[in-house]
């Protein structure tokens, strides 16, 4: 892949989560990456205000790293890391568990932190496993319906109900 700004090979792949154009990926060579990432390079044509507006988050990775992470898919909602990269939005709460190591550099880039300090839910959550199981079952049911496997869909629905009732009884 060539750099978007010159003929050199693109060795940096930068994911922008916010900014004027919405989430997008940039493929650039080392020189252009440095230029792009340096805080003083507020692009001409965009006002200083626009610079402030687009609280830009940047993550640097090598092409190899990207290729392998991009293949990964969440077992619960099915989103791949590549899809997340393109749309900038995760698929389900479990993604934070499944993609934990891949998200960590991104979180540090955005927030300068990877740990929550602050408000907590006052009640104890149902076990995380149960939550993820419900998410997963709902997805399986949707797939079963799409494939017209109605018997399977009914089984799944019953299991969802059992799990939901367990919660109500807790």
């Amino acid at each position: 892949m060539k750099c978007q700004h010159c003929e050199k090979p693109a060795t940096f792949h930068i994911t922008e989560l916010t900014g004027p154009g919405g989430p997008h990926v940039l493929h650039v060579c080392e020189d252009h990456a440095r230029q792009y990432l340096s805080p003083d390079s507020s692009q001409p044509g965009t006002s200083a205000l626009a610079g402030v507006l687009s609280s830009q988050q940047k993550v640097e990775q090598s092409a190899e790293q990207i290729a392998s992470t991009d293949q990964k898919a969440c077992p619960v909602c099915g989103i791949t890391f590549a899809e997340f990269r393109n749309i900038g939005r995760l698929g389900c709460p479990y993604d934070y568990v499944h993609f934990q190591t891949d998200l960590e550099p991104l979180l540090i880039n955005i927030h300068g932190s990877r740990e929550h300090h602050g408000k907590k839910p006052s009640k104890l959550l149902g076990s995380p496993d149960r939550q993820h199981r419900l998410l997963q079952l709902r997805r399986e049911m949707k797939e079963a319906v799409e494939k017209e496997l109605y018997e399977r869909a009914t089984e799944i629905r019953d299991e969802i109900r059992r799990l939901e009732q367990n919660e109500a009884g807790e």
Partner: protein, 351 residues
Amino acid sequence: MKLDELAGKCGEWLKGTGPEADIVISSRIRLARNLSEFPFVRRCTEGDKRSILRAARQAVEAIDEWKDVEFLDVEPLSDLDRQFLVERQLISRELSEAEGPRGVAVDGTERFSVMVNEEDHLRIQVIRSGLDLKSAWQDAAEIDDRLERKLTFAYLEKLGYLTACPTNVGTGLRVSVMLHLPALVITRQIEKVFRSLQKMNVAVRGLFGEGSQFTGDFYQVSNQITLGRSEEALLQQVEYVVPQLIEYERKARNFLMTNSEHDLHDDVSRAYGILQTAKKISSDETMLYLSKVRMGVNLGLIRELEIPVVNKLLIHTQPAHLQKLRGKILNTTDRNIERAGYLQKHLAKRN
């Protein structure tokens, strides 16, 4: 609560009360929350969205203290009604333009709203007049607690509240303050001031203006990060910056009053005159002149007007409000005529 009834009224947050209300229009707290058992909204099926909407509605309606809270189903609303809610700041443009089952719970005095199926399953929003972040945060935390007794939010010990976009994870908190900074714009210091804020973990953006962010000199300052700091610490980041902005703006106003009072007075009076006499006027132009008039009132250059009236006009002259108040759909030209008439009626000379 009927939307048409709302139209004639004015939300609490526009009352022009609260600390620093001459410069700070409003303080806002937003919390992003998701139900743990569903995919994030973008990956939801229509059925998922309907289940989320139902769960949210049941939770809201089961809260005893919320007798005055109305739950609106947004999907079946007309374009005009949705636009009306956007102008009112009860829902976001994003929720208005989204598809599928979605809704909003609105407090009777418009102090808070809870959007359902926007980017996250729930977006709690509290608005206060003037600079009043602490009480807005206390209210938001209480709303969160109440909802949480009925719903299970996606939360991890390590990462906090889980959100569709990683930029909101952790506290899910966005603290924003809306400021009116006309003198900083006139004296061309605004960009310099904002550039100095860049290093202070806050974001600034223009407000109201559809086309240009400078329309009306209204700006919003908010925190940039949501993870790794407590809600109180994030509040403080914004609370630290806002008084500085207020001081800069006051200094700029003093400077203008000392060095070019005639020019300023002339500018303000002309703006006032146009608003009082124009026969057709666009939304952007109205905003521009109302901004000048607002400053004029605060500086004592216009004596017969009060800030709450100006605040109300800022909202009531927007397209959907005008049409709601008139009780019919109007095209752009008719709206411009209607707007001029509305302004004339409310800014009539009182002799």
